[in-house]
């Protein structure tokens, strides 16, 4: 049923959500530095414009929450609601108008809420964490603009607007990662982040060109120019799902190109190398970047343009596709790297990469909803973990992030941090009933259900590895004997306190230290952090437990699905009305395609009346919440011939609203292997940690020194598969140095040489003319007239003898010649 009610004020005006921080950014830049700290009683109200940032994020959060509530009302009981779209002309070129506007649907509402929420918490946390920083104002300005960029991207009406948000984030990440740019390592890291993402952006530009202009062609052919442009999300989605066969290869190229951008932005293999280096920034930045913004932008783009990827890469139609492969590789590759890190933030960074791999893989195997849901749950616990790491560094380890040198045994000293960390780690590891479990488990489940067995296995292996490395990190940080700073030993020379990491990023954290501790740190031993830090931790840890409950298949709660998942049903080409013509209609979505091996589940979809000329919206509507689908269409979770499935060709004048998501019935038995692996990972890892780090007992301690294979493996991982060496040492250095120099040499010596040569030879010609033509005529006079003479004109110089009679002779000779010519001509 089509929603008849108006979507509501907050949905209609969702575009104000990014506007608030954008304005706040301008305000902070303009006035921030002039606002001093104010003291009221015991409390100091921070100046420097930071509160403008916090306030703007609260404002955004308010509007985002309003939008989310209204979206829930709007979709409640509806089978199908079209996105709330708005667009104002931004630029026109060659008859195509591209607008700025909003495309509000379940996905964007969810991410808007998430981003606003996390940004708010991070900004509050930063009030304390960056107190006394030398670029306090700039920090908040960048942070605010960063959130604005992400929000713009999320509600982008079209690809160009999406690129706008995407690149603003890139810029801000550059400014934030390089926040302490005095150190070369930090500026290098920021440069690397920007540059790597930019490399991926080649794909974004090319992909947008491919997709946008092809969609425009289709739109023009179908006379839909007034509805949307070819660059709009809506237009592209309709085009991709319309099943027009002439665009098949274009779709594939577009999908591949766009996916390259996602690889760069979301830190997927092989462009993941910038992400760990990005830890050079202040911890709140890492937290924001790696939980809900920036890195999920790539995943978001795939989710947003899922029709393009679905059709272009033939998801569900083939056994393997690019997205799943890259996602799968990333899960394992990043998880392995997390084992050799000594820097707590880098463990988390690789864990982020690995989790992003899950999301990508989920999208690649057709698990759209769980992958998007994983964005949601992951944001809370990953943000919490980073903030915990920051809390540890802030109050526990004297601004060091080195787990081996400066941590250990902190759980007594920092109970709140420890508890929140543990909860979030369990959520990350996928321990049942924590937030991460609901999303991750369903991704793995669908990978298996859709018969992507390899990726099913990778998902399980990833779960095992995740538990193991998080156990290791937890052990090193909170258990065992206190070491270094955690034991109260201050090594003032921080840069030495770090193991010689391949990238010289160690110095970065030292900086963090110096900046922050001047103002407030009392150089006491480890202690718990103040409430501005603890507060966000507690909130996030709570959410790390309960955020998953909105979509808990285990408890038959499917709210997230209901609100966020777009419905795969035939719609008119404008996407505004459900098309009744092709009535074999399934309402995938809230309760659509759900296979069940039990068969008796109440959620088992009621088989539609045979061939199903059933008016879907009437039946599957509000109360019943179960829609029919033709039973015959489903075979072992695969579904063919229906809207939103591979190979489906919609009737003329219709298209599918979205690709179908095939959910599989939850069973405890299926969830068991993952759970067992988690337990196994925990046990093995704890045992290893205790032996290796705690008791330093053979055979594990010193294994890497003794065993050549272990050493080789360790070195390989420690050097991060030598990918950095390849990129920086070979490619970047190669281009920046020999290649660029060679080109410049070419410029100076060949191209410029030709020009200079032409100039020189021009002068030469003049000289030669002078020398031979001239001297050949009258020798002596030329010698006399000297070097001042130039060119052919001087050849006549000797005739200027000054002798009257000679002049006369010439005069008459000339006259005679003229007369002769006259006679000849006239005769």
């Amino acid at each position: 049923m089509i929603a008849t009610a108006a979507p509501g004020w907050f949905l209609e005006h969702a575009y104000v959500i990014p506007l608030i921080p954008a304005v706040a950014f301008a305000l902070i830049i303009a006035f921030g530095k002039r606002i001093p700290d104010t003291r009221i009683g015991r409390y100091t109200i921070p100046g420097g414009g930071s509160l403008i940032g916090v306030a703007s994020m609260l404002g955004s959060l308010f509007f985002a929450a309003g939008a989310a509530l209204q979206w829930i009302q709007y979709t409640d009981g509806e089978n199908y609601v079209a996105a709330v779209r708005k667009s104002w002309v931004w630029w026109q070129s060659g008859g195509i108008e591209i607008g700025l506007g909003q495309q509000i649907d379940g996905l964007s509402v969810m991410v808007l809420l998430l981003v606003a929420f996390i940004s708010t918490l991070v900004q509050i946390y930063s009030l304390e964490y960056l107190k006394g920083d030398r670029r306090y104002t700039h920090f908040f300005a960048s942070l605010t603009l960063f959130s604005a960029g992400m929000l713009v991207m999320v509600l982008a009406e079209n690809m160009v607007q999406l690129i706008l948000g995407w690149e603003i984030m890139g810029l801000c990440s550059f400014m934030l990662i390089g926040h302490w740019w005095e150190e070369k390592a930090n500026s290098r890291a920021s440069l690397k982040a920007f540059f790597t993402v930019r490399t991926g952006d080649i794909g974004l530009l090319v992909g947008t060109a491919i997709v946008g202009l092809s969609a425009q062609k289709w739109i023009t052919a179908n006379g839909l120019q007034d509805q949307y442009s070819g660059f709009s999300i809506e237009g592209i989605s309709r085009w991709a799902l319309a099943g027009d066969s002439q665009y098949k290869s274009v779709l594939t190229w577009g999908a591949v190109a766009l996916f390259i951008a996602c690889i760069g932005k979301s830190g997927q293999f092989p462009l993941h190398t910038w992400l760990p280096d990005a830890m050079a920034g202040p911890t709140p930045v890492s937290s924001l970047l790696h939980s809900s913004t920036m890195v999920v932008a790539g995943v978001f783009l795939v989710a947003r343009l899922y029709p393009v990827f679905f059709e272009g890469l033939r998801i569900l139609d083939t056994n393997v596709n690019l997205i799943a492969v890259i996602g799968g590789i990333t899960i394992i590759v990043a998880a392995l790297l997390a084992f050799v890190q000594t820097d707590i933030k880098k463990v988390l960074a690789y864990s982020t990469v690995s989790q992003l791999g899950y999301m990508m893989m989920g999208l690649g195997v057709g698990a759209w909803t769980p992958a998007v849901f994983h964005i949601w749950t992951h944001a809370f616990f990953k943000c919490c973990l980073f903030l915990c790491a920051g809390s540890v560094a802030h109050s526990g380890s004297h601004h060091s992030f080195d787990m081996k040198k400066d941590m250990g045994g902190l759980w007594r000293k920092m109970p709140v941090t420890f508890v929140t960390w543990t909860i979030s780690s369990m959520a990350l590891a996928g321990v049942p009933f924590f937030a991460g479990w609901y999303s991750k488990d369903e991704i793995i489940d669908i990978a298996g259900g859709n018969q992507y067995w390899v990726f099913f296995a990778i998902g399980l292996a990833g779960a095992f590895l995740t538990t193991a490395y998080m156990t290791r990190a937890t052990y090193l940080t909170f258990f065992g004997k206190a070491r270094g700073a955690a034991a109260g030993i201050h090594d003032e020379n921080h840069s030495d306190a770090h193991a010689p990491a391949p990238s010289a990023h160690g110095a970065a954290d030292a900086h963090d230290a110096h900046d922050a501790h001047d103002a407030h740190d009392s150089h006491a031993g480890p202690h718990e952090s103040p409430w501005l830090i603890k507060g966000p931790l507690v909130i996030l840890a709570t959410l790390a437990i309960i955020a998953g409950l909105i979509n808990a298949p285990a408890f038959k709660i499917f709210k997230f699905e209901e609100w966020v998942e777009p419905k795969a049903m035939p719609v008119s080409l404008t996407g505004e009305t459900i098309h009744e013509g092709s009535a074999r209609n399934i309402s995938v979505g809230a309760f659509g395609l759900r296979t069940s091996s039990e068969g008796e589940s109440e959620r088992k979809p009621v088989a539609a009346e045979g061939d199903g000329h059933s008016p879907t919206e009437g039946e599957s509507g509000a109360e019943e919440h179960s829609a029919g689908y033709p039973g015959s269409a489903i075979e072992e979770g695969h579904l063919t011939g229906d809207c939103g499935t591979p190979g489906f060709v919609p009737a003329a004048g219709t298209t599918c609203y979205a690709p179908g998501v095939i959910h599989h019935e939850f069973e405890w038995v299926k969830a068991l292997p993952a759970f067992l692996l988690v337990v196994l990972g925990f046990i093995i890892s704890s045992a290893v940690c205790v032996t290796l780090y705690g008791k330093k007992r053979r055979p594990l301690a010193g294994l890497t020194e003794r065993n050549i294979i272990a050493r080789g493996l360790y070195k390989f991982l420690w050097n991060r598969y030598y990918l950095d060496a390849l990129y920086e040492g070979v490619i970047v250095r190669g281009i920046a140095h020999p290649l660029a120099r060679a080109m410049y040499w070419l410029n100076q010596n060949v191209f410029d040489g030709i020009v200079n040569g032409a100039g020189r030879s021009g002068r030469k010609v003049g000289e030669i003319t002078y020398k031979y033509v001239d001297q050949g005529l009258v020798d002596g006079v030329v010698n006399g007239s000297g070097a001042a003479a130039r060119g052919t004109g001087t050849a006549l110089r000797p005739t200027q003898s000054g002798k009257v009679s000679q002049y006369g002779a010439l005069l008459f000779a000339a006259a005679a010649l003229a007369a002769l010519i006259l006679v000849l001509v006239n005769s």
């Binding site: 420097g48 630029w91 920083d133 030398r134 690149e167 005095e182 070369k184 440069l191 930019r198 080649i202």
Partner: protein, 552 residues
């Protein structure tokens, strides 16, 4: 204002000459008065420009407005035809704005050996040439204005330039003259081949098609004529491989010269392509378009790589122009309205952004007396405002969306996805789609290099800590004091409280004249970046008229 015989444009073009006339009678020593009169003349000209902007009928931006058509040199059928349409309006105004801003900047930045009188007079003459080129609708008139520009710039580089100025100015002059010679021959050939009746651009466009249809003009002839024009314009653009005069001219020119050169002079070439070469000889344009496209993408990559090899900041920016103009020419070579729109936008954006970068480079040179990247470091610490402005300009230059540079770059890449489809009526075939898609990918790789060289430059000069040579001269001296107190508003102390030690004078941050000169450019970069429609809607109709010939 479509009325004929409207003299607004002529006044706008020649008003600076009145200023020159007045300045002649002011003694050289009265520098203040000289500057004042010069600036006043430029401001008055800008006033006329703004009047034009207000009176312009945006509803008919494709038509020539404020047109004047009166006899000039009857002997050769050349007439004084000027007019303004959406194509020329932005550039016409830009030339006036830039002249004013450059004059403001020069107020306390007259380069050695001084003599503001001559300097200001040259700038005014330059303004005449630039504005004239953008409004001329007659080939001879266009040529005259096109050449007028050369001389003041020659003297500007030759007199006020760097150590190697003689060489650079001569090279600039001769190289451009070399191109212009071919252009003139092409113009004359066009004139005679179409019956020797007119030099008017609009009439010639029709005449050429007529003659071509009658068989009086073979495609070989048209190609040759186009080649001549293209050579003239390509040198000015400059397109790879005719670009070698540019780095030398830029490096040696005084700041003001570099800014005008980058902001306006380079645009004369690209404007020539769009205004003259494409509409008059569409068939030949189609033949040459792939080659122009090829040279453009080579220029994009090549310019970027040369940038990476530079050790001098100004030279780096100069080479970046080669790369950026590559994007502009790529847009033009697609022969679609998409591409030409992108090129038009790119021209203005490049003018603003690269002009800004040259301003910054000039101010850096002013303070540090060097532009060697190795010796500069930690500018953000010493002259934070200048450093941030440079960062802003660099970001704009690398094509960050939301700033003007993006709208020249991205649509150009887009347009290469689908080049002109061809026009059966004019016997113009389609351009090779696959070739242009290859160009598209190469060009988008170019954007990565752009980010590379600009950010690398920024990292090396602005980030980090100042080199020992300049340490303690900038605002960082104060910073250290404040650091002890731990107050986070240390950067507020950027005012001059410290004292210079060592032989360098203290580095001061952006001054008042610099602010006045730069603020409009910075604002324009943001404004056109945020609201590109403001410009697209002006030239889109005029561009559509041209691209229609190619089926776009």
């Amino acid at each position: 204002m479509l009325t004929d015989q409207n003299w607004v444009l002529s006044v706008g073009v020649f008003l600076p000459l009145a200023g020159v006339l007045v300045m002649m009678f002011i003694p050289k020593s009265d520098e203040l008065l000289v500057k004042f009169v010069g600036l006043l003349a430029a401001l008055a000209t800008l006033g006329i420009g703004i009047y034009t902007l207000a009176e312009f009928d945006y509803g008919q931006a494709e038509k020539l407005q404020f047109a004047v058509n009166t006899s000039w040199i009857d002997v050769i059928h050349s007439r004084y035809i000027v007019g303004l349409d959406g194509l020329s309006l932005p550039l016409y105004i830009l030339s006036m704005v830039i002249t004013v801003l450059v004059m403001i900047y020069s107020w306390n930045h007259v380069p050695s050996p001084g003599n503001p009188k001559a300097f200001y007079m040259l700038m005014l003459v330059l303004q005449v040439g630039m504005a004239g080129t953008f409004v001329a609708q007659d080939l001879v008139l266009f040529f005259v204005f096109f050449e007028i520009v050369l001389l003041p710039m020659y003297f500007m580089i030759g007199v006020w330039g760097g150590e190697n100025r003689q060489y650079a100015s001569l090279k600039f002059f001769l190289y451009t003259m070399f191109g212009s010679a071919f252009m003139l021959v092409a113009f004359l050939a066009l004139f005679f081949k179409t019956g020797g009746t007119t030099f008017s651009m609009t009439q010639l466009a029709d005449l050429v098609q007529q003659k071509y249809a009658e068989g009086g003009l073979t495609s070989t002839t048209m190609n040759l004529i186009f080649a001549g024009m293209a050579l003239g314009f390509a040198v000015k653009v400059p397109m790879f491989p005719f670009h070698t005069w540019l780095p030398d001219a830029h490096t040696q020119a005084p700041t003001q010269g570099s800014v005008i050169l980058a902001a306006i002079l380079l645009k004369l070439g690209t404007y020539g392509f769009v205004r003259i070469a494409l509409p008059i000889l569409p068939q030949a344009a189609k033949v040459f378009a792939p080659w122009i496209g090829l040279l453009s993408v080579i220029g994009i990559i090549y310019g970027a790589w040369c940038c990476l090899a530079q050790t001098d900041m100004k030279r780096l920016i100069a080479f970046s122009s080669v790369a950026h103009m590559g994007f502009v020419m790529l847009g033009i070579s697609t022969l679609t309205s998409y591409g030409i729109n992108a090129a038009m936008f790119g021209m203005v954006a490049h003018g603003l952004i690269t002009g800004m970068l040259f301003f910054v480079a000039g101010s850096v040179k002013d303070r540090y007396h060097t532009l060697e990247i190795k010796r500069l470091s930690g500018m953000l610490k010493q002259v934070p405002k200048l450093g941030w402005i440079m960062g802003f300009a660099a970001m704009a230059s690398l094509g960050l969306p939301g700033l003007a540079g993006f709208w020249g770059e991205f649509p150009a890449i887009l347009s290469a996805f689908e080049p002109a489809k061809g026009n059966v009526d004019l016997a113009i075939g389609p351009l090779s789609v696959n070739l242009y898609r290859t160009f598209m990918i190469i060009a988008s790789i170019g954007t990565v290099f752009a980010a590379g060289y600009l950010l690398w430059l920024y990292q090396r000069t602005a980030f980090g800590t100042p080199t020992a040579e300049f340490a303690g001269l900038g605002a960082d001296a104060d910073d250290q004091d404040d650091h002890a107190h731990g107050a986070h508003d240390a950067h507020e102390g950027a005012e001059d409280t410290g004292h210079a030690d060592g032989h360098h004078e203290k580095l001061h941050d952006v001054g008042i004249f610099e602010w006045i000169a730069w603020a409009p450019m910075l604002a324009a970069i943001v404004f056109f970046g945020v609201y590109p429609q403001a410009m697209f809607k002006v030239f889109d109709p005029a561009v559509s008229l041209i691209s229609k010939k190619f089926g776009g």
